[in-house]
Symmetry: C2
Subunit: 328 residues, 2 copies
């Protein structure tokens, strides 16, 4: 590993841009090329010197790229792309359709085993760092309850749902964790909490001209699945205000395990992220796991992996000696 | 692994008792025996049916114990015991003299390699879970600053220092993290903070009859290394109050990394423990890592290891399938 780890990016939306930015922060990595189905003409990388290629050129980069970071969506891109690309490269993806993870793992594992690559799936913060903390917390506190709270954060799915209502020009939805519910958990109460008990929803909406605000507020608050089970607030704002104040993508959340040792001794474990930009942070996590994939492959491992299969020694850029000396 | 993982405990103070309690919470483990230099007569296990043996009987248990959990102190016990016992068993220890970890690792590794055992050293919460979070946070946020705060917690070393002052009958010292300093870090300010800036110290003291309170308060507050660089409060309390209210061993703390991605986007990573009992929690962490040592040995790994070398798959009692299905 005297040379840098050579990275490719497949897919160039918000997440791909986050990955591009993150690679420039890692001293042991270099970005070789961005691949997009839009090709050169359709992609403007943050660094104008970065090579951009059409997806179908990827196979010519087998000797030039150590790890391909897949930045497509979980609905349609990744189920197809990860197994396909695992034929040619070690891969990282952020597949986050929880119910389909076992199926995705099996499909990727088969190809990665056959072609002797390491493919780490479902990387990011949830699934990802939150998953790590759910497992670590339960391993060290087997008796107890775990809770995941999300937010404050922009929910793309809920924002889209509001935008689909007639008369809505722009909208964003923030998921807000309940401070009261979190404090009850922190105090060791171990309450039963539905997702609606743990979160409220805040919508900021720009109306089309002449749209009926009362009707739209009602349509949002009564929308099945998305809003009806939550305390929901709706604020109407101007388009100028929306463009100035509501363009960022903050997110985050908290994993708490409330456990007991001995004779009902309360032990509380908490992991929290407060993220200024969800895609930039997720991108940064994917990049760290690209290092792990490269090291694991060099050590002779192959197949599909998750964050549960990766050591911190492989994830870190530091040597094992330095980790023991300075980080233990 | 159809049978349970068979555990031995070496050393039976507060930590040994914590380990004993924790094993009873783990469905896949059983406690075979406690070993103490005091022998049978000197040890009262929490479960009176537990076998107690003198230390020198340990070698007769080589076929009966999978992992020996060492619960001695870092000053004199572990530097001698871990290498010695690694000849015969997979081991876990909580060696926490930071400056001597590389030396301890080398000594243990030599023996563990030779005798084909897995020896995980420096396990607990700091070193241990806090170390994990320092490495994970820096891997995913390479640009930023990390901070460790301790407390609120009982510091044994500082309590001992107060007790050594003439005229002090009983004393406890709690380390208190500075809320103000933590909030500055959480807000992304990245301040330069000394240990004294990050913590204050609270002492609760029972005087010997006729002792001079003012002199003792002065002796505490000006004590070099221990107190002089900290904001320190001293309260004198009655012996009855002390016995009733100050016998527990709470501890905990926070690791925060304040990082930046992209163009100065603030990302904040925080890990927090609030522990009702330090030795019970530390014992519980040691027990989880005993599982990992057993699984790693079964998979053919040998030598000294740290928390940086252990996957969550090995740490958890769940199958890899269940982890992917329910925890990702």
């Amino acid at each position: 590993m005297s040379q840098t780890i050579r990275i490719g990016i497949c897919g160039y939306g918000n997440l791909g841009r986050g990955v591009e930015r993150s690679i420039s922060q890692q001293a042991d990595m270099s970005l070789v090329a961005i691949f997009s189905r839009r090709g050169k003409a359709g992609v403007e990388p943050l660094n104008p010197l970065t090579t951009v290629e059409h997806l179908d050129q990827m196979i010519h980069y087998q000797d030039k790229i150590d790890v391909m970071i897949l930045c497509g969506g979980s609905a349609t891109d990744l189920p197809e792309q990860t197994p396909m690309i695992a034929q040619y490269f070690n891969t990282i993806d952020s597949f986050d359709t929880h119910a389909k993870i076992p199926e995705h793992f099996a499909a990727v594992d088969k190809i990665a085993q056959k072609h002797q690559h390491v493919s780490i799936i479902s990387v990011g913060w949830d699934p990802g760092l939150f998953s790590i903390n759910r497992v670590l917390a339960e391993a060290v506190l087997p008796v107890g309850e775990s809770y995941t709270f999300w937010g404050k954060g922009l929910s793309q799915g809920h924002s889209d749902a509001v935008r689909r209502i007639e008369g809505v020009k722009h909208a964003v939805q923030y998921t807000i964790p309940s401070q009261d519910a979190m404090n009850r958990v922190r105090q060791g109460e171990q309450p039963q909490l539905s997702t609606g008990d743990k979160h409220s929803r805040e919508c900021f909406v720009v109306l089309e001209e002449g749209a009926d605000a009362a009707r739209i507020e009602q349509a949002i608050k009564t929308m099945p699945d998305y809003f009806v089970d939550y305390e929901t607030s709706v604020q109407f704002i101007s388009e100028a205000n929306f463009m100035q104040e509501y363009q960022e993508m903050p997110h985050g959340g908290v994993v708490i395990r409330s456990g007991q040792t001995g004779e009902q001794t309360q032990q509380t474990y908490e992991f929290k992220l407060n993220l200024g930009s969800n895609p930039e942070f997720t991108g940064s996590v994917l990049v760290a796991y690209a290092r792990a994939a490269h090291k694991m492959k060099q050590a002779g491992q192959v197949g599909a992996k998750t964050v549960f299969d990766v050591t911190l020694g492989d994830l870190s850029a530091k040597s094992a000696q330095d980790l023991r000396k300075f980080y233990l």
